[in-house]
């Protein structure tokens, strides 16, 4: 009844091409944005920021980045953890070397550096595909972690091999370090998440995205119709690396404040982000958010219900959490192999017809 195209006349090409063609969707989107920027910052405390919002926003960026590579361009990557580490260490080196420059630019430049590294490790994709490419990117994962562990220059020769984020401010308000108010870290990450999502959404709707999808669907056919696979694949790696790098930089500087590469950016991280993309939905920006929400928020929710609410022993709760999250993943993938995004799409189709489906 409310959710429909009928009656919403588009009179220009701009209108016709907008991201949310349905009025209801558009307003919902504005409401979410207003809530995220103007309401939530006033309601936050340290727990909500550090346990819920920051991981959700940061993993969303990583999932968007990986979704471009895996979901849109069809290049399987297991190197996400390593590429996040590149972003984190680039950000650390920049923060320490140029303290007078805003952290905002450091994060963006870290993304750029990660894009370059990602392109470098994307070169094998020109010759190999599928599982073989996954193994090549797995090599990137292990190599990068080894590199950051091994070469003292990256962690400024600190005794423990840890990197620590010094306090940096934006407009005079601390966003990194321990003294920052919760809303500043949240807003800082939110700005990046929204910007990344908008950029990714528009890239994937445009020529670049269509080229990626052509390569994904059938690379030989794509080449025949004039898509340059070298350019298409490497741009996918670059854009993906850019987003993943930003998420790594934020993960280190704003969220954790101190990381050691093996623990924070190990192979588990690569799998976690890949699962987010698969559960959320390959080839969907909404799916990246949904997948990140599912894998970040669900464990926290379960823990709070089982330990905080029901008062169960923590070890039992932790084991149950693994089982519940694991079985939900299986259930979701059997019920809807195209991920949460597909559920959302189906719901929207149904909504269009509601309440007169025939």
């Amino acid at each position: 009844m409310f959710y429909r195209e009928a009656g919403d006349f588009k009179t220009s090409y701009v209108d016709d091409n907008q991201t949310f063609p349905i009025k209801f969707d558009r307003y919902r989107y504005y409401v979410v944005l207003v809530a995220a920027f103007a309401v939530i910052p006033f309601l936050l405390n340290d727990y909500w920021v550090n346990a819920v919002f920051l991981p959700f926003l940061i993993y969303s960026i990583a999932a968007i980045g990986l979704n471009i590579l895996v979901g849109y361009c069809g290049q399987v990557s297991l190197g996400t953890g390593g590429f996040m580490a590149v972003g984190a260490y680039a950000c650390y080196k920049l923060m320490v070397a140029f303290p007078e420059i805003s952290i905002f630019f450091h994060v963006i430049i870290s993304g750029g550096i990660t894009a370059l590294v990602c392109v470098l490790f994307g070169l094998p994709s020109l010759r190999i595909k599928g599982f073989y490419l996954a193994v090549a990117t797995l090599a990137a994962q292990f190599f990068l972690v080894w590199l950051f562990n091994r070469v003292g220059w990256f962690y400024n020769y600190s005794a423990s091999g840890q990197i620590n984020a010094p306090e940096r401010t934006v407009f005079g308000i601390a966003v990194t370090g321990a003294q920052n108010p919760p809303w500043s870290a949240y807003l800082f990450c939110l700005v990046f998440t929204v910007a990344c999502a908008i950029i990714a959404r528009n890239l994937t709707r445009g020529m670049a995205g269509r080229k990626w999808m052509a390569i994904r669907d059938m690379d030989i056919a794509a080449e025949i119709i004039g898509v340059n696979p070298l350019k298409a694949k490497l741009t996918a790696f670059a854009v993906s690396g850019f987003f993943v790098g930003i998420s790594g930089a934020l993960f280190f500087s704003v969220y954790l404040g101190a990381v050691e590469v093996g623990e924070a950016f190990g192979i588990n991280k690569s799998f976690l982000v890949l699962f987010m993309v698969i559960i959320g939905g390959l080839g969907s920006i909404f799916g990246s958010f949904a997948g990140a929400a599912f894998l970040v928020l669900l464990p926290v929710l379960l823990k709070n219900v089982l330990v905080g609410g029901l008062g169960w022993p923590t070890d039992l709760a932790a084991h149950l959490e693994f089982m519940i999250v694991g079985s939900l993943i299986i259930v979701f993938l059997i019920a809807e192999p195209h991920g949460l995004a597909q559920l959302w799409r189906v719901a929207k189709e149904k909504l269009r017809l509601w309440p007169f489906p025939h």
Binding site: Y47, A159, S160, A178, K303, G308, T314
Partner: protein, 428 residues
Amino acid sequence: MKQKLMATALAAALMAGPALADLTIIDTSYRTGPYAANGIPFSDGYQDYFTLLNARDGGIGGEKINLVECETGYNTEKGVECYEATKGAGNGALIYQPLSTGITYQLIPKASADGIPLHTMGYGRTSAKNGGVFEWVFNYPANYWDGASHAITHILDQNGGDISGKKISLIYHNSAYGKEPIRTLEELSAKHGFELVLLPVDHPGQEQKSQWLQIRRDRPDYVIMWGWGVMNQVAIQEAVNIRFPMENFIGIWWSGSENDVKAAGPAANGYKALTFHNLGRDYPVYADIQKHVVDAGKAAGAGDQVGSVLYNRGMYAAMLAAEAIKTAQEMHGVSAINAAQLRDGMENLEMTEAKMTALGLPGFGPEFKVSCENHGGNGYGAVSQWDAAAGEFKLITDYFQSDQEIISKLVAEDSAAFAAENGITPRC
């Protein structure tokens, strides 16, 4: 939509927090994952001691202790989540004992900003010994650099004081934890003229074939280990496999629990590990624990760890926290102290033989006195050895002090660097 639903449910779950009590102690434990074998006994000991105080003495100074457990899985992200979730529990968390060097590094700035003391007993950031810079962090009675020095001193004693030309390998967990002793060992290697070989093992440490192959090829005179969790068991098994002489294999105190050696069977006999407290359960306090905690069915976990090395360590940590609370109560004249008052108590804590005897733990740990300049104790430790037939670790040396000359220099250097990075003016 989904997100909003989850947020609502989360909010509902958070409302039903733990019951209010006067002294809130947080146990950030790990009973799951590759480090659980070591996390469980420590946490059991830590909790049982507070349960004992509640049951026997009615708390500390008349105030009941509210113990809140939070599972970290030795994972830094979960550790942060735990910290944020528990720091406001009850009347506010009094003290954290993260039992993870990685989580400690995360919590040092956060806890300092929030004004909650951290006690990182025998782990964490070594230079936190300098209390002038690290106001809220305590690592008494001993730290990693002390441990490194203890191992070398023990080797020196075995060799009549001369180890020049000897080859010593360090097999370590490739993380902040395992890397901590390297700088000290390098200094000691320059001083005593031994050759140091570094062998990192990546998390979680199940794969060590290549490192032990290298040890077999290099034939080092001694191997020192900085391992934790499953890495310990694997390393000791590998050492057995290559028939490395066990008495030349020395682990840090975190690599010396029964769980680590039992898997390798009788062949692990003779394995050495450092310790900064006594072992076994021949102490009067254990009778009380048995009576008030275990027999009363209040023991934490399965209750089967009482008297093991790491249980003792957890209990020791709880005892030091309880003594610091007592000190703070005396200093401030209130029984319901807050975190800032506990910090004062920790900074003025003095452990004497008389005090430990009164607690039913005669001679259990070294005597030390904490001060603003020294948050780390005096660096006393001893060497224990695994007796496979008896199934227990036995002390084979007296307590001896680490090489303070080298360590105090390194502590001053590292803490000065931290102070400069973070714009801290030392308090003393």
